[in-house]
């Protein structure tokens, strides 16, 4: 290895701050909110442990598309919808427990693959605008989902259970009780450590997924995704099937989101049929960004740190708001605003960094002759 370029320490601190500004702001806010919330440490930690099991899988589903250079896959809500459809059938068939969850996964998988393939096709036609396209695609598919669940289910698609259909005879009720599968995965293997309960089976599934992702990165396909993520033209000219690989990345992401949503809902125990998936992409994106990922680079530690930080804030900010402002609603309002701000900040930072990098790359071409000219000085014209 070459000897790394040593920066003076002040500059190093500045650069570290610039690279991690999102995380730092978040830590700052949370650090203020934790003591003001007056919640006990045990409560906070137990809540965090539960939320890890509930959310981490969903956030993991964002990793591969980022690696393939497609940004944050807001289209993951398509997978969430597939998972919900799977759960509707599992409840309708009355299959309880972990078997019910497996059944939901089996039903959801082909739907998720189909939707992922469609999303991949669309995103291939919207290169460079994958994120906004995925986001809008989610809204559109939400309409399709409503049509299927609200009108077709019970009318054309056979639904046997009267308990989950609307009283008019077709369409699924607004809230679906998931009593038959509630926390079946979490409770499969509960571990009690001191005052805490740990849903070990859920953690095991998440750990398996993390291992899968580590392994996947070492495969040829993973290597191709990394290459495409950095330069599509070069990858194409090396003979890597760029479009296919991008579609595969989205299909896998959609599949994982499908499983993730099922894990999420089994923990919640009930499902807002028409709303449960709406915020999924947004929460997952906020989590991974808070963990220090950018839309171009994300790692497994980013996911783990991000889920922890985001949910820590979600736990402590409403009570802190209640104590400081006399209203929990202000806290809730504040945490939503914070999450959106994080996404906006991360996107703006990414665009800004990309431009700065391109500029310094071009400046490098100038060669030594103009090295005396400080680009910063000439910003406003060489005066």
């Amino acid at each position: 290895m070459n000897t790394p370029f040593k920066l003076p320490s002040a500059a190093r601190v500045r650069r570290f701050a610039a690279d991690n500004v999102v995380v730092l702001i978040f830590l700052f806010v949370t650090a203020i909110a934790v003591p003001s919330s007056k919640l006990s440490g045990t409560y906070i930690i137990q809540d965090l442990l539960t939320r890890y099991g509930r959310n981490a899988f969903l956030v993991f589903s964002l990793l591969l598309p980022i690696m393939a250079g497609m940004g944050i896959n807001f289209g993951m809500v398509l997978g969430a919808m597939a998972g919900e459809i799977g759960l509707i059938f599992a409840v309708d068939q009355g299959i309880a427990g972990v078997q019910g969850l497996l059944y939901a996964v089996l039903v959801g998988a082909p739907i998720a693959i189909l939707l992922g393939w469609i999303a991949g096709q669309v995103l291939n036609r919207a290169r460079g605008r994958e994120m906004v396209t995925g986001y809008i695609l989610g809204f559109f598919m939400d309409g399709v989902y409503q049509f299927v669940v609200l009108y077709l289910m019970g009318a054309i698609i056979p639904i046997t259970s009267k308990a989950i259909t609307l009283s008019r005879g077709y369409g699924i009720r607004n809230t679906l009780g998931l009593d038959s599968v509630r926390q079946s995965l979490d409770k499969l293997l509960m571990l009690k450590v001191g005052p805490f309960t740990l849903p070990m089976a859920t953690y095991l599934v998440i750990a398996l997924l993390a291992i899968f992702i580590v392994w996947f990165r070492r495969t040829k396909l993973g290597q191709d995704m990394r290459a495409i993520g950095q330069d599509q033209t070069v990858s194409h000219s090396a003979g890597i099937p760029v479009e296919r690989t991008r579609i595969v990345a989205i299909v896998i992401s959609t599949l994982l989101a499908m499983v993730g949503q099922i894990i999420f809902l089994q923990n919640m125990g009930n499902m807002a049929t028409y709303n449960a998936h709406r915020q999924t992409g947004f929460f997952a994106a906020a989590a991974i960004l808070v963990g220090g990922a950018s839309v171009a680079k994300a790692t497994i530690p980013n996911v783990l740190v991000g889920v922890g930080l985001l949910h820590l804030m979600y736990i402590v900010v409403p009570p802190a708001g209640a104590r400081l402002f006399g209203s929990a609603q202000i806290g809730e309002y504040f945490r939503d605003a914070m999450s959106y701000a994080v996404i906006a900040l991360a996107l703006a930072l990414h665009a800004w960094r990309k431009r700065a990098n391109a500029e310094s790359a071009r400046a490098g071409l100038r060669g030594a002759a103009s090295g005396a000219v400080d680009p910063a000085k000439t910003e406003g014209g060489a005066a």
């Binding site: 070069v234 003979g239 100038r366 002759a369 680009p375």
Partner: protein, 532 residues
């Protein structure tokens, strides 16, 4: 040389694009272990020839080519570049095609990674195989060793100096087991002198191992230093195929620019010029693909100053930078007054106008009518063709004045159109160019930049455009800086011609200087050597 069959032979290669012949009956052969220097100006046909060799789809799409390409004596016709790669031909491009976040090894082995089978392969196909990193590193190290350079297999490309990036590219090509022919297109363009030396040494090493090399470069001293043979293309024809032994750079330069019919010793009325109109000192411009590194020159009042040079060397960056279209720095003075860079408005306000080489992108409002196009900049910059109401509180377009202006220029420049309301996009290239000129003239500039004024327009329009520029200069006394790839055109109307090479001015010559001198400047020889 082991056997007589040449590694590569091109026989009577002919190619035309839509009736324009770009290659005519080009034949030459390359033996194993031989380095062939291929030189020629822009548009001489080098690129097209290489595209044919590599089976680029664009060749088939435009009607194929005439003649035969033989590899090891057998006719070869590749349908796409991957066929060519399979046949053992490697190409190293001018711009790097490397993945910045990958290591040397990962780049060398890109899409040829060595892998191990596993269960997932049987289930989901070969792309699920895991990479065998130690084996990849070993192979990459072998390729690097063949090159004879120092390159660490685990360095990230983004952290390498440019020279190492170039070596990584070459290592990637020679890693293929069957590679026998390597084409390098301007491999030294981005390298410092010392790096270029190392590269040339590696090429000799590769040739000694039996690989045939086609070395395309405009740095002629490198060609004479490394090549065994030199092939010169000019206007699509092979004008010289000779052993490189004893050939001088000056001779090659003369063959390259050629056209010894030097009857155009123009009768120049003794032109007299005023003081300096435009002074440029240490200008740099970040224009992608046309980087200007360090340029200083001065243009006299009333002069037509030409700027020439090969594509990509930075000549286009000069006007674009001064006019504020790309990030630039340095000192520019117009009539002694400082002009702010990075601000198009400041350049326009100072009295400079620019006819861009990017006619359709920068030059014209394609969906608007001619009168709009011609009056637009003058309206913005000078507030001309506007009628003020309520003491200047608001102003409206003066359609009548615009119409008169448009009609004046349509007549003067012989713009072929249905009228001043016709849309700019409906005109032919030549007439669009005239509209661009009219737009610049309407500003009544005291200094006019014209960039590639005759690119992509037919011969008749070319002559007219050049004549108009000359007349405008004579009649209005406007100083003109003309940038062009066509040396002949620069020599025809300019009072002095500067040649730009690698972002710097290699030298400034009078137009009647011998062609070989221009060729030498383009070849990266400095002014001192050229005039010697």
């Amino acid at each position: 040389m082991p056997d007589d069959t040449p590694l590569l032979s091109l026989e009577g290669i002919t190619k035309d694009f839509y009736g324009t012949t770009v290659l005519r009956d080009v034949s030459f052969a390359l033996r194993r272990g031989e380095i062939l220097g291929l030189v020629g100006e822009n548009g001489a046909g080098k690129t097209t020839l290489m595209r044919i060799l590599f089976g680029m789809p664009v060749i088939a799409e435009t009607g194929g080519f005439g003649g035969t390409v033989r590899i090891d004596g057998r006719p070869a016709s590749f349908r796409n570049p991957f066929d060519a790669l399979d046949a053992g031909i490697g190409m190293v491009h001018q711009e790097f095609s490397l993945i910045p976040g990958f290591t040397t090894t990962e780049n060398i082995m890109l899409n040829r990674e060595q892998s191990r089978r596993n269960v997932a392969v049987d289930l989901f196909g070969p792309r699920m195989a895991t990479l065998d990193r130690p084996a990849m590193t070993a192979r990459a190290s072998k390729a690097i060793e063949r090159l004879g350079v120092e390159l660490h297999p685990d360095t990230l490309v983004s952290e390498m100096p440019v020279g190492h990036k170039q070596f990584t590219e070459i290592a990637r090509e020679i890693d293929r087991e069957n590679v026998k022919l390597l084409v390098l297109d301007e491999p030294t363009a981005v390298l410092a002198e010392s790096e270029a030396e190392i590269l040339l040494a590696s090429l000799r090493r590769l040739a000694a191992q039996g690989i045939g090399i086609i070395f395309i470069s405009h740095r002629l001293h490198e060609v004479t230093a490394v090549a065994d043979r030199v092939v010169v293309l000019r206007d699509g024809q092979l004008v010289k195929d000779t052993s490189a032994k004893g050939v001088e750079v000056r001779e090659i330069a003369a063959w390259m620019v050629g056209r010894e019919v030097d009857a155009n010793a123009r009768v120049r009325s003794d032109r007299s010029f005023g003081g300096p109109a435009l002074e440029v000192e240490h200008l740099w411009v970040d224009m992608p693909g046309e980087t200007v590194r360090d340029v200083s020159f001065s243009v006299r009042e009333g002069e037509i100053f030409g700027i020439g040079g090969l594509a990509g060397q930075g000549k286009l960056g000069i006007p674009n930078g001064i006019m504020g279209l790309f990030a630039a720095g340095g000192e520019v003075r117009l009539h002694g007054k400082h002009v702010a860079l990075d601000a198009p408005r400041a350049a326009l306000d100072a009295g400079m106008a620019f006819v861009s080489e990017d006619r359709r992108g920068v030059g014209l409002l394609l969906d608007e009518s001619l009168d709009w196009n011609i009056a637009f900049t003058a309206m913005q910059v000078k507030g001309a063709y506007l009628r003020r109401w309520l003491g200047g509180l608001f102003s409206l377009r003066d359609e009548k004045a615009m119409r008169a202006l448009a009609e004046q220029y349509i007549e003067m420049l012989e713009i072929k159109c249905t009228g001043h309301r016709q849309k700019a996009k409906e005109l032919s290239g030549g007439n669009q160019q005239k509209v661009c000129l009219a737009k610049a003239f309407a500003l009544e500039p005291n200094l006019l930049f014209v960039s590639e004024p005759t690119r992509g327009i037919d011969v008749g329009a070319k002559k007219l455009v050049l004549d108009k520029l000359r007349h405008y200069n004579r009649d209005e006394g406007t100083t003109i800086v003309m940038v062009s790839s066509e040396l002949e055109e620069l020599r025809a109307i300019c009072d002095r011609v500067a040649i730009v090479d690698e972002g710097r001015i290699a030298g400034i010559l009078p137009p009647e200087a011998p062609l070989a001198d221009f060729g030498l400047l383009m070849a990266g020889e400095r002014a001192a050597e050229a005039s010697a």
